[in-house]
């Protein structure tokens, strides 16, 4: 018997003939009918969900990040080993638990014993890891989920919660990521999934749902921080024959991947939140709008929607209520501006994703002119807990104005890259230096970039900033979706500002002039500065353009596009000035400001690869005086007169013997 199947003839639940107690029957009980035999069947089915027919569970982190680190080869190796040895194991591809820096992650657990997690696993390490664990030895593991004293080496391996990366994390939205099989509705269910939905349908009116979410002070996690309860309230009050609910999974901020991680690791949680949102506002149709560049996320959502439909959690008379809802997964064709809500609705309607002025707001006139609520993936992922455990449980952490937790993605020049979920109000310093382990390779901290192309760069004086919506805005940046890109001394701020303007210029939808033409002018100025052609007055011109674009653009993307320039002009003006007045790039990044290239003779192995790489034949091999411990006495030499400073030779050199001169 599968967990989702009816246990006996007394169970009549199906998608066509729903039973209000279906989900409780499958999990915690009480059953809709008294039967000890059925209780045993169900308990056995629950165990089988975790361990299959054996007593061993092996999981491999196979989110996009895991796959990029080589998880498929590890999965294949585990699969082969299970076949070869006939191991009684259930092999499960799971999502990412957030510690991307340690990928590929493999977790192994025998029923009744602590689970051991291994980091940086490759295919060769699989057999010894599995063998050692099966012999009761966990030494060398990355972390344990619990300690019982049953296994050798437990003392020397930390608990997962003891790792610095996890200390201070409070997990809600991503609690199941890396733990459960995202393709299995059964695994979500036995981890408490869809309990909130049952409670909502059995006990709460839509208004009571909205009141609970409002009391939890949940705010939109997509960036603007609009109160979710109020958003639902406005949409509920709008009269209409049809209403729509949209899950914004068009995660477009570069440096942010919490939505991908959430949806790839635990799509049902988001879907449960979406169904509850639809119930609250009275929507009969839902859309999950997924970014084209994140295909695995779309697959996971499609599978989750299909499973929910199969078991009657979507469709007509959900769990025997009067409520019906269908959900479609819509694949974005790729445009940053789809993240703007009116742009996204245009895309779903089949048009170019051009924003329109608001008001009217989507809550009253949205998709096909009908009231529409749009919530971000992470916002919806918080909803089940609020309804299952109450608003008070949610507001236990966070700040008075911003309750609950927020997922941040740590990337760039930081030791531990990945995603962390911490209470709102946690300081940047705590996140970066305690959880994130500080700056990579002992370099000096320079700034963090938050909020993607609409955000800003904050230097070290903001490290003790408690992160929430208001504090970030007051500092000149924004929360955005929560991407934190760490910059060290080797990052050029002017180049980074130019990078963001390249982004926003290319992504401008072209509808309004300030954004379409203004950003192009800003980009031209920044490009000139990074190419050593900057002039006095450029910075003032940048400032003026920025202010005009902020004031006059139609949508939030245009209005915030100058932020990367404005914050860096405030905090890193000297770096701009060095480019303009001294024609110097202090971070040694802007290639046009390179003075030239030279060969470090002691390192050169005279392989000759740089000779044909040079487009102007400026390199020759010459005799040189012997050096101590020498293997050859020839070296490449670059003729500075002929050299066009293209840098091909430095890129191609196998021993990094060609250096730039700044």
């Amino acid at each position: 018997m599968h967990l989702m199947d009816n246990c006996c003839d007394q169970c009549t639940h199906s998608a066509a003939t729903p039973c209000p107690d279906y989900l409780l029957c499958r999990t915690t009980g009480p059953l809709c009918h008294e039967s000890d035999a059925c209780k045993e069947h169900i308990a056995a089915a629950i165990t089988r969900v975790t361990y299959g027919d054996g007593d061993l569970r092996i999981t491999v982190g196979m989110s996009t990040c895991g796959l990029a680190a080589g998880a498929q080869a590890v999965y294949d190796a585990v699969h082969a080993l299970i076949q070869e040895r006939g191991l009684p194991a259930k092999l499960v591809p799971v999502g990412c638990m957030g510690c991307c820096y340690a990928e590929v992650l493999l977790e192994i657990q025998r029923q009744g014993y602590p689970a051991a997690i291994y980091d940086h696993v490759d295919a060769q390490r699989v057999p010894p890891i599995v063998d050692a664990y099966l012999c009761g030895d966990v030494s060398g593991a990355f972390a344990l989920r619990s300690k019982t004293g049953q296994l050798t080496g437990e003392a020397e391996v930390p608990l997962l919660s003891e790792l610095e990366f996890f200390q201070g994390q409070v997990r809600d939205a991503i609690e199941n990521c890396g733990v459960i099989d995202p393709t299995s509705i059964e695994e979500y269910l036995i981890h408490g999934g869809y309990q909130a939905l049952t409670h909502v349908f059995q006990d709460l009116t839509p208004d009571a749902v909205i009141a609970e979410v409002a009391a939890a002070k949940l705010r939109g996690r997509g960036g603007a921080g609009f109160p979710t309860g109020l958003k639902w309230q406005l949409c509920r009050q709008a009269p209409a024959d049809h209403k729509y609910v949209i899950c914004n999974a068009d995660e477009g901020d570069p440096g942010a991947f919490m939505n991908r991680l959430t949806a790839e690791g635990d799509p049902h949680k988001v879907l449960e939140g979406l169904i509850i949102a639809a119930y609250a506002i009275g929507a009969s149709k839902g859309y999950i709008f997924v970014r084209a560049e994140k295909p695995l996320m779309a697959q996971r959502f499609q599978a989750a929607v299909a499973a929910a439909r199969r078991y009657g959690l979507l469709g007509d008379a959900i769990l025997a209520s009067a409520f019906h809802l269908d959900v479609d997964v819509v694949l974005s064709a790729g445009a940053f501006v789809c993240g703007e809500e009116t742009g996204m609705m245009a895309a779903i309607e089949g048009k170019r994703a051009m924003p329109r002025p608001r008001p009217p707001f989507p809550a009253t006139q949205g998709l096909w002119h009908r009231p529409t609520t749009i919530n971000n993936v992470e916002t919806l992922a918080h909803v089940p807990r609020i309804l299952a455990h109450g608003a008070a449980a949610f507001t236990r952490v966070g700040t008075p104005r911003s309750a609950g937790t927020k997922v941040y993605c740590l990337t760039g020049k930081i030791a531990r890259t990945g995603a962390v979920e911490v209470p709102l109000g946690t300081t940047l310093r705590r996140v970066l230096f305690e959880l994130g382990g500080g700056i990579l390779a002992g370099k000096a901290f320079k700034a963090v970039q938050t909020g993607g192309p609409s955000g800003g760069c904050l230097p070290s004086q903001f490290l003790d900033l408690p992160l929430d919506y208001e504090t970030l805005q007051a500092a000149g940046s924004i929360m955005g979706s929560g991407g934190i890109v760490v910059l060290d001394e080797t990052t050029c701020i002017v180049d980074l500002a130019r990078y963001f303007l390249t982004f926003t210029t290319a992504e401008s939808c072209g509808k309004c002039t300030p954004c379409r033409d203004g950003l192009e002018q800003m980009l031209a100025l920044l490009t000139r500065i990074t190419e050593g052609q900057g002039r006095a007055g450029d910075l003032e011109q940048l400032q003026r353009l920025s202010e005009t674009i902020c004031d006059a653009s139609l949508c939030a993307l245009g209005r915030t596009a100058p932020n990367p320039v404005l914050t860096t002009l405030t905090h890193f003006r000297a770096e701009y000035e060095a480019h303009i007045h001294e024609k110097r790039c202090p971070a040694h990044v802007c290639a046009a400001l390179v003075q030239g290239y030279h060969v470090v003779a002691a390192r050169c192995i005279a392989c000759g690869r740089c000779l044909p790489a040079c487009p102007v034949a400026a390199i020759a091999l010459r005799e040189r005086p012997a050096l101590p411990g020498d293997t050859g006495v020839r070296t490449a030499v670059i003729d500075a007169e002929t050299c066009i400073k293209c840098g091909h030779c430095a890129r191609i050199c196998p021993v990094a013997a060609i250096e730039r001169e700044w």
């Binding site: 490759d122 610095e164 440096g255 020049k413 030791a415 382990g437 890129r651």
Partner: protein
Amino acid sequence: MVNEAATSISIVDDAFARVKDQTPLDSALIPLLQAVQNALGYLPAPALQRIARLLHLSESQVLGVATFYHQFQLRPTGQHVITLCQGTACHVANANEIHQFLVQHLQIPPDDDTSPDGVFTIQRVRCLGACSLAPILKIDDDIYGHVTLPKLPRILAHYTQHDRTKRAPTPSANTEAHPHAPHG
């Protein structure tokens, strides 16, 4: 070319059969374009004309949408598509150098994105969302993290030398990745 036009029209017709009940009908435009793009790697003109006719849209409306979104290509791509991430984390991890290297290594002509032998097309995308393993690139559906210039020729060779059935072996991400990352 005649064949390709016929193929593209039958792809449109097949896809249209699946969405023809969608209301309003013009919301099927992007799914139809995606069906053709996924099948052929680009949008041939006959397919666009067919879509316009089926959805009662003008050809300019269809072309307007096709040129607005990054996913759609109006020219055929090479046999393998290299998708190069240019997100912020990849940018600060020198993704530009990877692009320059690929352009040079594959002899991509200026103002083009496909190698002269038609094997590789380079596409730059905003962010693949695997920022923690930057710099990232994808070749077809295989994703590679912590890409460095010395690893690239070996990865590329895998797609030219073999009748490939699986991705190139992971360039030992485990030993080379983040040598300085302390364990949590």
